[in-house]
């Protein structure tokens, strides 16, 4: 085992897979010259000059070209710079990448990976802070991974670069510099499998990304209140691991879903609705969803912190759920 950052783990995954498979190539804005805004491309600096390059600011062309390249047999990996800018080229994803295999009756394999940073960080304000994974959960046709640790990102990116389906990966900005243990030897993490980051008996918390860490902090603090959280990191949002969640809820009889994206019509609603449908009788209390207030992300850190959920929201929800407030 070694201890490396999330960025480094991501870089290792990309490097190893590019060495293994020369159909993989990667491009986007501002990635080649400085090693990527968040350092993920540092390990590639100087390597594969034809297989890593910067593009014009042309998101519709960038995302759409990934589809074309996949159709001719390549495995493109595209960085979307900031998840917000998915919107400037999103037709290439929602109308093309997500539909073409189905529309053509299963012709072709869309082995392509879109990845990049999302989430709230340091007063980046409304156009640079969004988490929009829910959109891709709603519109069918692309798988979604959202790893929260160096170990997970490395194993899941490697798996994704070998998948024959299109995948989008969201990496929370605050995670890149976080450290964690990663094995020396090669490993892969299968998509669609949640990871129980902490076992517990009182309340199941279903979460991803930065909120996994907030949940762990909350769990720590709740010990002194005698509340024992079970924290499930979905890791793959589509398809999400329903079995693991249901099993946990059958044990704890209580469910909190915590995500950073807007609470209203966020993916937490999908989990909540599904669980009340399929495990109605296991629930001792209403499912609580935690998400951002339904406003664009404000600039001031006072406002940003108010709008963005964190461990405190989980603590409050857990206490309320256990009847302690």
């Amino acid at each position: 085992m070694k201890t490396i950052t999330f960025s480094e783990a991501l870089g290792e995954a990309i490097l190893e897979e590019m060495q293994r498979d020369d159909t993989i190539f990667t491009y986007g804005e501002d990635i080649a010259k400085q090693g990527g805004i968040f350092g993920a491309y540092k390990s590639l600096l100087g390597k594969f000059p034809n297989r890593i390059f910067d593009t014009p600011i042309s998101e519709e062309a960038i995302y759409g070209s990934a589809l074309g390249a996949a159709l001719v047999g390549m495995r493109p990996m595209v960085e979307f710079h900031f998840s917000d800018f998915l919107f400037t080229g999103i037709q290439s994803i929602t109308l093309q990448i997500e539909k073409i295999r189905y529309m053509t009756g299963g012709q072709g394999k869309l082995h392509l990976l879109l990845r990049g940073p999302d989430g709230v960080s340091n007063s980046a304000a409304a156009q640079h802070s969004e988490s929009i994974e829910t959109i891709f959960m709603h519109i069918p046709g692309i798988k979604i991974i959202i790893p929260s640790t160096p170990y997970d990102i490395k194993g899941m990116i490697k798996t994704s670069l070998r998948s024959d389906d299109p995948i989008i990966c969201f990496e929370h900005k605050s995670l890149y510099s976080q450290k964690g243990e990663v094995p020396e030897e090669e490993y892969l993490i299968p998509l669609g499998k949640a990871d129980i980051k902490k076992e517990g008996k009182d309340i199941t918390v279903v979460t991803i990304s930065r909120m996994v860490h907030e949940s762990l902090k909350a769990a720590n603090e709740l010990v002194k209140d005698g509340i024992d959280l079970e924290i499930i990191d979905l890791r793959t949002l589509l398809p999400w691991d329903k079995e693991t969640v249901i099993k946990s809820v059958q044990k704890t009889n209580r469910l909190i879903i915590a995500h950073e994206t807007w609470r209203r019509a966020g993916w937490g609603a999908e989990i909540a609705s599904t669980i009340q449908e399929e495990a109605f009788d296991s629930l001792d209390a209403p499912i609580i969803r935690i998400g951002a207030y339904n406003v664009p992300m404000p600039f001031s850190s006072v406002l940003q912190n108010f709008v963005t959920p964190d461990k405190q929201n989980i603590i409050t929800a857990a206490k309320k759920m256990m009847g302690e407030m």
Binding site: P56, A61, I62, M74, L95, R101, M103, T104, D165
Partner: protein, 312 residues
């Protein structure tokens, strides 16, 4: 060309008889473009097509039985009934899909070009798109992108003078769409899209340049959409005299006359070809009509290669 024409006439009739669902956009009058361009390509070259894509498919070597079955929404169709006219594709002959999104094929074509460039093969990718599509952001981004990376892509603008109800000059701020090539420092040329030989010559030059790593070309092929935007279009936005006038310039008749003049074919041979094609079309219709409808549950296949855990 004639095969395309006859396919389209059959499709039109079938639609008007209520046998075909959905939207059908006919390529009648524009056949010389697909025919001329595709004659310069190999089977392993790629194209991206448009909502008006039957002609591209046929010229690139698509199977009209499978096409017709798809128009009928049958399970034997190219897309097993999932795509229909606007989404016909045959990746095996290099057709990376018709497209219901105006401009939607352009980014895909440059991606094919990017893949070719990195694989270092000598294939090319062709993007077909309409005059209306030349006003989309996708057009601009794709041409700039292709130029910057000198991709082996040829952009074929089918300027049929209308974008559904809108006349080209009402929505397009440049006289010749090929003039926009200047914005990307690539060659741009306007040709008579109703002259199949002119199309062939221009496409040949561009395709060779692309194969020789000379980068992309923008070709504007001027033509005219002889039918409504889609079958059933009331077409209130143009005069019938204008349409009649262009029927006098339609490509097949012109080319037939040339072939006869140059003594390459005689009228009897042409009749034989027509008869053979008529039979092929009838065959295709029979194939389609006799094919089974998909089973409802087939709707829940073909989304992913691996759909383990996916909830439909």
């Amino acid at each position: 060309m004639q095969k395309i024409r006859k396919f389209e006439q059959a499709a039109e009739q079938l639609f008007l008889e209520g046998k075909l669902p959905g939207f059908i956009h006919l390529y009648i009058g524009e056949e010389a473009i697909a025919a001329g361009v595709m004659a310069t390509l190999n089977k392993n070259d790629y194209i991206t097509s448009t909502h008006r894509g039957h002609g591209h498919m046929i010229a690139k070597g698509g199977d009209i039985n499978l096409m017709m079955a798809e128009l009928f929404g049958k399970t034997t169709g190219y897309c097993k009934g999932k795509g229909g006219s606007m989404h016909i594709a045959d990746f095996s002959v290099g057709v990376l899909g018709a497209n219901g999104v105006v401009g939607g094929g352009l980014p895909i074509a440059i991606g094919a070009g990017l893949g070719i460039k990195i694989k270092e093969t000598s294939q090319v990718a062709i993007a077909f798109f309409g005059d209306g599509a030349a006003n989309t952001g996708a057009f601009h981004e794709s041409l700039n992108f292709a130029s910057i990376f000198r991709l082996p892509v040829v952009f074929i603008n089918e300027n049929n003078q209308y974008a559904s109800t809108a006349k080209k000059q009402e929505t397009t701020s440049v006289e010749n769409i090929s003039d926009r090539a200047i914005s990307y420092s690539i060659p741009g040329v306007t040709i008579d899209g109703n002259n199949v030989l002119a199309v062939y010559e221009a496409a040949k030059e561009a395709v060779e340049r692309a194969r020789d790593k000379g980068g992309p070309t923008l070709i504007e092929a001027k033509t005219y959409r002889l039918k409504g935007h889609f079958v059933g279009d009331p077409t209130k936005y143009r005069e019938q005299t204008e349409v009649n006038n262009f029927w006098g310039k339609e490509p097949i008749n012109i080319f037939e006359k040339q072939l006869i003049n140059w003594e390459i074919l005689n009228q009897k041979e042409i009749n034989n070809i027509n008869e053979r094609l008529d039979n092929q079309i009838l065959e295709a219709i029979k194939f389609a009509e006799n094919s089974p409808e998909p089973l409802p549950e087939e709707a829940l296949t073909d989304l992913f290669v691996d759909d383990t855990g996916y909830d439909y």
